[in-house]
């Protein structure tokens, strides 16, 4: 829903904000309530980028909300600094800087660790505000007397005082916040953030420095929090110390989940529901303190039954009503038929690999010497010497447990070898990270699919192509995805190559298995590797799909070097020029397919000494 007509969402937001003062009073919203909803909504914009888009659930946002708020309030009440907007911006910068430092610590871990660390951090800020820094923050009294903004335009002075007048200022801030958030979400960085949420392992493997991007999201969230915190002080003419409490963080999390995560507007909707129910339950129904229990129950029910929150539920409902027909049309078309049609099309031109960094280099593209991997007492690989020439197609076979996948993982630097050396295009890559190796032009497709399951086929390939076109880290937060040079061509080309053009807008979850396998190869391919490792690309495919995939592999082999592990020897021997046989972690033999086929030792390894040709 975020990529419809250009500026549709921006326009609707603007209209909504303009109309609100005329409509909301009739629904029982006081102007002050509306202003508070907007502050929460602004706070939530950043948080949703962190939680909804990047998948990092922080329970410590109050730290930045409070930091921004108190820095702004301190400037305005204690130092004689009178520019309200300036103070808000300084507060925002202070919060972002704090976020950067805290992020360095908190993002050392992910998942529940991250959540626990952020909780602890927020608590520290709360205590620091109350005690050591109480001279600056007013301790439990807070900072009273925060002025409202006024702008001197020369001929007249606009003063935003309170109620609907202040609403204009806050609504403008919110609107700008929305525009910035939308730009970020639609930028290459935004795309990578959703990839990190879906599958951090693959996002790393296709060549993105995900730590840098996570830190970016964290700082963005902190900046939004800081600005919103400053606005809170302006709104209340008083900076309350409870901005720093764990309850603040908790309320933000709950509002975002109630409204709908990953929608940007979820926190706003959640805040509206929250504040409305709070007023309604307390005042109209006379529930007193029980209002929070009601909200808690509502929240638990929503998390249990409506994962997307209110907005998610509405979107589902809309799809259910409007999308039913479309879906029925799509389902009648069988994937096999689509495949058959596509096979008659001319094969697309092979995709160019990345340009070589040192074109003068002509030695083996990959050379591993003495590669050994031990897991405790278990030796997975021992002393493997392995060399592949430029443009070669190499097969690796071996019985289950021969250490083939471990070998691949070491070559792509997913795991570090216990000893030995790996040289790629004359450069020692031992000990590098998988991201860097991918950026150099070496990547692999996984034995078990590692896709971005929440995204569409096209988005998947976009993530991979972005890594090649933008490098491992770049902060083009305001660039449109469509403005990235060569991106569309590369994605479309890869789509055609892996024969998924017709399925470009299909979510990965709806793909057939064979299609997922092709996408898996496509992800590796879209990074334009010069050396591509394929871990059992044919595994689990039907005979028909195997023929297709072998054809695909042949077409992508032009202009690049590939190493393929597979158990389907007929297909493999047809593809490759040389085969290396691994057994019990060691190289058993190395030779042409013909030599391997007739070798007694290989037959021994596979068939336990039964004589005759290997039948796959």
């Amino acid at each position: 829903m975020l990529k419809q007509r250009p500026f549709l969402i921006e326009t609707l937001t603007a209209i909504g904000l303009i109309v609100a003062p005329f409509v909301l009073p009739h629904l029982g919203f006081a102007p002050n309530t509306v202003n508070r909803i907007l502050v929460w909504g602004l706070f939530g914009l950043g948080f949703d980028i962190l939680f909804g888009f990047t998948g990092l659930l922080s329970f410590g946002q109050s730290a930045f909300y409070g930091t921004g708020g108190f820095v702004a309030a301190y400037l305005l009440t204690r130092t004689g600094f009178s520019n309200v907007l300036g103070a808000l911006v300084i507060g925002m910068v202070a919060a972002a800087a704090t976020g950067y430092l805290i992020g360095l610590i908190a993002l050392r871990r992910t998942g529940i660790y991250f959540a626990m660390i952020t909780v602890a951090i927020a608590e520290v800020f709360f205590f620091v505000e109350f005690n050591p820094l109480s001279d600056f923050t007013g301790g439990e009294n807070g900072l009273p007397g925060v002025p409202t903004p006024s702008f001197n335009l020369g001929f007249t002075t606009i003063h935003f005082t309170n109620g609907w007048s202040l609403y204009q200022f806050i609504a403008l801030c919110y609107f700008i916040g929305v525009i910035i958030a939308l730009r970020i979400v639609r930028s290459p960085v935004g795309a990578i953030l959703s990839a990190i949420r879906d599958n951090p392992l693959r996002a790393t493997a296709v060549g993105h420095n995900i730590h840098g991007y996570k830190l970016t999201a964290f700082v963005i969230a902190a900046a939004y929090a800081g600005f919103a915190g400053g606005l809170l002080g302006v709104l209340q003419a008083f900076m309350p110390p409870d901005a720093f409490t764990f309850d603040t963080s908790g309320q933000l999390v709950m509002q975002t989940a109630i409204g709908g995560r990953g929608t940007l507007f979820g926190p706003l909707v959640g805040a509206a529901v929250w504040l409305f129910l709070q007023d309604f339950l307390q005042a109209a129904l006379g529930l007193g303190a029980a209002w929070k229990l009601v909200l808690g129950v509502v929240f638990v029910l929503l998390v249990c039954f409506l994962r997307g929150g209110i907005i998610g539920g509405l979107v589902d409902l809309y799809r259910l009503v409007s999308g039913k027909r479309e879906r029925r049309d799509a389902e009648t078309e069988e994937p096999e038929v689509a495949d058959a049609k596509a096979t008659q099309q001319p094969t697309p031109a092979p995709m160019q690999a990345k340009e070589v960094e040192h074109p003068a280099y002509t030695g083996p593209i990959l050379k591993a010497t003495g590669l050994t991997k031990r897991y405790g007492g278990l030796v997975a690989n021992s002393d493997i010497d392995f060399s592949v020439d430029q443009g070669e197609l190499r097969g690796i076979i071996g019985p289950n447990g021969a250490g083939k996948s471990t070998f691949f993982k070491m070559l792509t630097c997913e795991i570090a070898p216990t000893s030995g050396q790996i040289v790629f295009e004359g450069r020692d890559i031992t000990g590098l990270k998988v991201t860097e190796v991918c950026q150099l032009g070496l990547t692999k497709s996984y034995q078990v699919n590692q896709l971005f399951t929440g995204l569409t086929v096209q988005q998947n390939l976009t993530i991979a192509a972005l890594a090649e076109l933008r490098g491992k880290f770049r902060l083009d937060l305001f660039r449109k995805l469509s403005d990235v040079k060569d991106l569309t061509e590369q994605v479309e080309h890869t789509l055609a190559l892996v024969n998924l053009t017709r399925r470009a807008d299909t979510p990965v979850a709806e793909l057939a298995y064979g299609e997922k396998r092709r996408l898996e190869i496509g992800l590796a391919l879209a990074t334009s590797p010069r050396l591509l490792l394929l871990d059992e690309p044919l595994a689990g495919m039907s005979p028909r799909e195997r023929i297709e995939t072998v054809k695909l592999l042949k077409s992508i082999a032009r202009g690049r070097t590939m190493i393929i592990i597979d158990h389907d020897m007929d297909s493999l021997f047809e593809l490759v020029q040389r085969v290396t046989v691994l057994q019990e972690g060691k190289v058993l033999l190395d030779g042409t397919p013909e030599e391997i086929r007739t070798n007694a030792a290989v037959q021994e390894a596979y068939l336990g000494g039964v004589h005759g040709e290997i039948a796959a």
């Binding site: 659930l57 529940i112 602890a120 303190a289 129950v297 638990v300």
Partner: protein, 291 residues
């Protein structure tokens, strides 16, 4: 400036707090280690243990019965919670598990607030542990000494359950590799339910044992939850010995810092956590790979 008796007494306070944190964290960590769910309602379990014991005490005037009633009630609550809600979240992302347990924690706190109001409630220590003990070099409240002993016994019991019983073997195996345990034909769901109950009970037991030291308020579990997190991060997620070590470290840091300036207690605790994260990201006794 530093008087030795007060330092020693703070060290004792740290030991008492540390033991308490160790027990609560053990509950949190075995639940996480086995089920893969971080229970954000764990602090509420601690609080409910205190209140359930308080109610039992009102009726029976017996502290021992209060402890038993409080623990059993929380265990039961844990089992019901696992059965009705948590079970449906095993295959959902971590964020959803965090959200739902967080929401449940709030519900629990608000229910208690509704019944008992926000005013603090008092549970007196049992008669035999009232008063002050002369340790020779200083005087120390008898019940606080008893708390250390009681919790040590509880930790011992937990140790026996974890390391000497069939259930404990499954739990420890589950922490190592839950998929494998599942495929061995063990009904993991029943084990999960029991583990959740035991983990919750550890918090509930700590709640009622601690009740005479502090006064009960509905929000009493919130701070404890945060401290428990730090303990678990320091000790290593899923590690029972780590929870004990982390608990004692955290308890001493809080107590000793409070002697100089209570405002810095959390700062020091956080500094310790950061240090551990930088030096040993998986915690002092944690195992790599569990996250």
């Amino acid at each position: 400036m530093i008087s030795w008796p007060s330092l020693v007494s703070q060290l004792f306070n740290g030991l008492a707090l540390g033991a308490l944190l160790a027990l609560i964290s053990s509950g949190l960590t075995i639940i996480y280690g086995t089920l893969g769910v971080l229970n954000l309602a764990h602090g509420a379990m601690f609080m409910i243990g205190g209140y359930a014991g308080f109610v039992a005490y009102q009726y029976t005037e017996s502290f021992i019965l209060a402890v038993i009633a409080g623990s059993l009630f929380v265990m039961l609550l844990g089992i019901v919670m696992e059965r009705v809600i948590i079970r449906h979240f095993y295959h959902r992302p971590h964020e959803d598990q965090l959200l739902v347990t967080f929401g449940l924690g709030i519900c629990f706190v608000e229910i208690v607030r509704l019944i008992f109001s926000s005013q603090s409630q008092l549970v007196p220590p049992p008669a035999m542990f009232q008063g002050i003990t002369n340790l020779g070099f200083m005087f120390y409240p008898t019940y606080r000494l008893a708390v250390v002993g009681i919790i040590a016994v509880a930790l011992g019991a937990l140790f026996i359950i974890l390391y000497r019983t069939w259930l404990g073997m499954i739990v420890r195996a589950g922490i190592e590799d839950s998929v494998m345990v599942d495929s061995l034909g063990i009904n993991v769901y029943r084990v999960f339910m029991v583990v959740f109950g035991i983990g919750a009970m550890a918090a509930g037991f700590a709640g009622i044992v601690n009740a005479p030291v502090v006064s009960l308020t509905p929000g009493i579990g919130d701070d404890i939850l945060v401290q428990t997190f730090v303990v678990v991060v320091i000790g290593g997620v899923g590690s029972f010995p780590g929870a004990i070590l982390g608990g004692l470290i955290a308890g001493e840091i809080i107590s000793v810092t409070s002697m100089f300036n209570p405002g810095y207690a959390y700062v020091m605790l956080f500094a310790a956590m950061t240090l551990v994260l930088v030096v040993r990201p998986h915690g002092l006794l944690g195992v790599q790979g569990r996250e």
